[in-house]
Symmetry: D4
Subunit: 221 residues, 8 copies
């Protein structure tokens, strides 16, 4: 580029490789040539692509796509996972409804990529609280709980009062009007009347999995 | 899905079946295959589809579409209504202008689906207050009043000062600039100087009908 | 006043006397001489004073104070109640915690003033959900339910999924930081995933009682 | 002041003397010595002091106070008015309730100071719309209408639909919760469904009078 | 529509016919069949269509389009203007830059439709203040001034300090980032340090013309 | 209270006793008689009082005060701690500056009350990043890290990129203007470019300690 | 245009030609015919086009496009640069990640257009702080530093504590959820705990270069 | 403090000593004993105390107070200034009105403390633009311009179009209603249509002086 001395390939915005968390590529906004070169570069390395829409991924050549494990709901892709962390630790990903599926599954897939066991409990919202209480004993058998909920996000508070486990709450941008693209769910979680609930950015399933991994790694020492 | 132990069909986010309110499917954001399977599953059950856009519904096979009573303005569909609740109770749906039609009719259609009588009074905004006062006596003959208005939402306050009936106010996202997609109308209704006006989320005609149904069921005991 | 042709006594901002709701005086911001003259004027009339702080009321002469039934927590006062509405109808006022007491009791006292029976269920927040479920059957024996909650306001959603009764939700300004003086609780209630929950302005216990009265009067016809 | 080359008396922030509008002193935040010196300086000049609280004004020596026409509700003071503008033009100041008195009277007093006739119609809110309609013919006999209202500010829309006169709407900071210190009233007025309603800053009665004066001066040419 | 007793044609949201202001149709959000029927109905009546995008208008049959005077920048259309108001009154529409053209011209076209003279002074922003001061004397020869500006909206304050005329300020949604779709310009205008500047909703050129018409009609008496 | 059937003692808003977290009393807003009775009731029980201002606590009788371990900076008090959790686990509380002391020490004191070891690293903000990097190795020897920071909250991101430990970030309400009482720090932490940083409500040192306790209890199994 | 007396070509909104800053055309929102005529008019003049998307520029005739130096990432174009300012002064443009490339390169290209040397340091975010510290000495050899960062914008604070140079910080709209389209990065930069950091509007790389030019011109005197 | 291993004196939040900017103490929120010890410690060192209210400073012993140069309007104090920077560079501090005095003088005093010449031009707001243009030539003789303005902050844009000098704009929290405690002025400055205006946090006169010092030090090399 004339008018700027810098050149060459563009790298990802935030990386955590030195602290043991997944090398990840946040796909939105990246021009296709750059994204394609990254997909080519990482076809035999443990790198996680997040927010990779189906329509975008479909533009890659078929042989390159075959190298990747791609999931269209979580919109994640990777060619190689990180080494397995064993079966000592498990994470329960509990979501309020089917509209939260993208975020819940982004968390689950990131944990899978990192080598951790996880179980997905979808459709556990408080409007039908018997769905949650019926599963409570099983959920409590996991080391860490990720709660994914939009709208009133009441699930985080109710679960926070029923379990002693670390809780990582992820608000989702589900809803319209006063849902305010997830800001109301976020506020509900932050002011939860159940003590010790920690919170991530809206829709940040990837970050919740990283936070869980920071805890699980502690258990593995 | 690899990387997540959960699987199978996705269910709706919020359901109220155990408390006697309509089983409903909120359509936006649902992938078409899932929506199609739900339309197929519920073609002989009393389930209400909301926010089902015309372009989406048109993708269904003609014979399936014929099973449904679909209204393109309210964007609602159902194959079977809930059992008729008799004629003891009636709801007046009063809206400020034609731009509020989608929301007002979502309320009216949900009431119809639930078996309640309703009358729609559109174009009753306060910029021409004689349109409202001329219909007041008739409106007051209904048991419950749903007010649908955007912009300044002055209709809720004016009507609140003219009727002793329960009032359920629905702000709409009509307008531009300071209308702020309905937030200004919502605030106006919440701080109404007429006492006892209750309020729903922006554009939530479905919810207003459910709130009315909670009251009407009380009358039916 | 020189420079303005108007003069004389100042009246209250919003009144609902023509629609059968309580004649009320909203006390904050009123100069003491005006408030005092209103207390004197209404010592044998059914008028409700709201938000009347203890320090303010204490400035009135003892013999005037004795004419009034004053409650320092709800900050309400009246000399005469409206005529009794009979025992056909009852309201449950359910609050999340002790910090919501001012608002919950303002609702209860307004109902008492209007001649309606009410029961107060305090400390029923979802962080200890067994407190709520243990009282559920009793709560459901009331005609209308007023829910008072701050912070995450999860109580409204949980209760909305457990009862078919009309629900009037009042957010409170309890909390700090993201509680945003009640705005987060308000948003949670408006986007509640339980259908048919109606909502009042923050801390508006008086308004919730008026909304309940609109419903109860319908039952009395 | 050491460390700054500037010195001397501080002047008022915004003045409009060259355009014929009142020379005014906005009192809040001004240190008392400066305010006192301004009161002394302008005891025989047509200068308007606004937002001058009673407790502040009371600190001035009695003989200086006697020079001024001070009104504690509008919190305005002046020693000399501008020359009388004759009786060709009149302004109606219509307010919703007694809580709006400070702002409504600030507008009325500023008009008086400028030499214009005005009439104050207080307690005209829409919760009792008959109070407004009963006065409508008289209000319409004024050249310009200033509407002062807080909460839902529905008065501006209703009046805007009933009069062809220029309307200058002033939102007030009355109320709590979603009233948001006047922001909701402001938004309601800006999105009024009655065309041609112009709006001032929250509580800006002084500015509304200036806007009316700009119109009245046109009539006087 | 089944499920709602109301039927027939939908009318416009806000109308001002009884107060002498233009009968107008706000086009956005109206379904095409309804818009088309309105264009057909009003081809020989003085009705103003606002926010009518070129792509929408182009869908009408050629012979219907020929009946209308359509301007693609202001996005206004009318078949017949209201009767001419004579040349006694004139309005200056002053805008800051070319990005404000849509709004400035909506104001100018509405005035033309109403029969009032107007002059358009575009590109008069304060970054080159000599453009404004060079035109000041000519601008001041108009009865009313409409100021159209986005971004910092400094033009309203500067002009407000230079002219004694009534000023109607319209913020525009020009800009990005902190321009916040016109909210920053709106706030700047409302807190203008020049007294007596009145303000309209963001991008509301139509409303500004109506406000000017309210003043001009006063002059015509 | 007349007009409400409920009576008796008021309990705390949010409690976590059934899940093993500290029984706590949030002091602000509680009337003094109630607070005093709680101080008397819990003088030999492991209950933590938070946000108990010095001026309030000083009102208690000297002999009651002597029963309590009170710290005026963290504004916490307790008579008995929970049983010691052993020395297997430690928490580093890292704060940006001295203005964050109240919150950082609330976290440290809550951990002490719960029986966990903690070290306080104050004045570690990034404007002098060598203060942080010089202490990094020592900080990393703790199991969990609580980061307390206001203003730009850059400390959370920088530390998040330097440590693999679980990070619980607490924004503080330090600062003025765009600090927006902690909202800007909160947003910075939620969008931290270091993955896996979890966040608490503004100034919620107590909650951060509870979140740490949820993790440490896992280690102790 | 009928109904408006003004006519002719539309000019750009904001220009700074009299103060020596680049004559610039802000492209978004300009109709294509106007944009095309401006491209034709300025093919031999030093005018900078900003935010000119590739798809838009591609519509110009090939021979006209050849006259221009166009860069698709920064979306800038010019046919002639301003005269070279010599090599006495240099600017370092430091950005946090590849997602900030558009804004960083808009700054770099504007400086090039103005004749100033600049170096681009991309991918220097604080999640990997060694990337920044390793380049610090080299960065400090430049006269002025432009920092471009989104999300938590911690880079501005960290760099502000490490260099004595003038710092111009540009927040970017990178991110989702609480990133709030750059508002959180903007707030972080404004409350930076490193003193003397100046800030531009979100994504305003062009403005940052102009601010740098104001400083560099001072050095050249 | 029992329950926290840390102890000793608390240091200031943000310091810039290593980059050559003033060692400063931000006074608000600091307990008096700590503030007193800092005043004692720095009575012969070049440290600047900011936001030190008169009532607070007056609590210090008279002999300590005598050591300090204290200014009650800017609320700054120092015992020793930094070494004089010579007379090569000068800063113009231009403020809109007398309400901006605290902030303007904080900037001027900080520059004096740092050894730089400055001139204060108060009362230069755009409502009387002749006050500004009459001083323009003199203002332009300074190397750097600090603009201090609240309300519409139009002064920054107007001055930005009239001078080629580096401009550092400081919004002030002057005003009420839509002034929003300085947020509107801040937004106006950030979206200024004059290119190259840099902006500080609301009321941050100290920071503006530091930013000017970063530029002036460049000139001194």
């Amino acid at each position: 580029m004339r008018g700027a001395d810098s050149d060459g390939v563009l790298f990802d915005h935030c990386r955590g490789s030195r602290i043991g968390l997944p090398e990840a590529v946040f796909s939105p906004g990246k021009p296709w040539p750059i994204l394609l070169s990254l997909l080519e570069r990482f076809q035999s390395q443990p790198v996680l692509f997040t927010r990779l829409e189906n329509e975008i991924f479909a533009q890659a050549p078929a042989d390159l796509r075959q190298k990747y494990d791609y999931d269209p709901i979580s919109r994640t892709a990777f060619a190689v996972t990180q080494s397995d962390q064993g079966d000592f630790a498990r994470v329960a990903v509990v979501s309020a409804g089917s509209s939260d599926a993208q975020v819940a599954r982004e968390a689950a897939r990131t944990l899978f990529f990192l080598g951790y066991h996880q179980t997905l409990y979808e459709d556990s919202g408080v409007a039908g609280i018997w769905r949650l209480t019926g599963r409570l004993e099983e959920i409590n058998r996991h080391e860490v709980i990720i709660v994914v909920a939009g709208l009133d996000a009441a699930l985080a508070s109710v679960l926070g009062g029923l379990t002693p486990r670390p809780i990582i709450a992820v608000p989702t941008s589900v809803g319209y009007g006063l849902a305010r693209a997830g800001e109301s769910a976020l506020a509900s979680m932050l002011v939860s009347c159940s003590p010790g609930v920690t919170v991530m950015n809206i829709d940040n399933g990837y970050g919740a999995a990283c936070a869980a991994a920071r805890i699980l790694r502690l258990l593995a020492r």
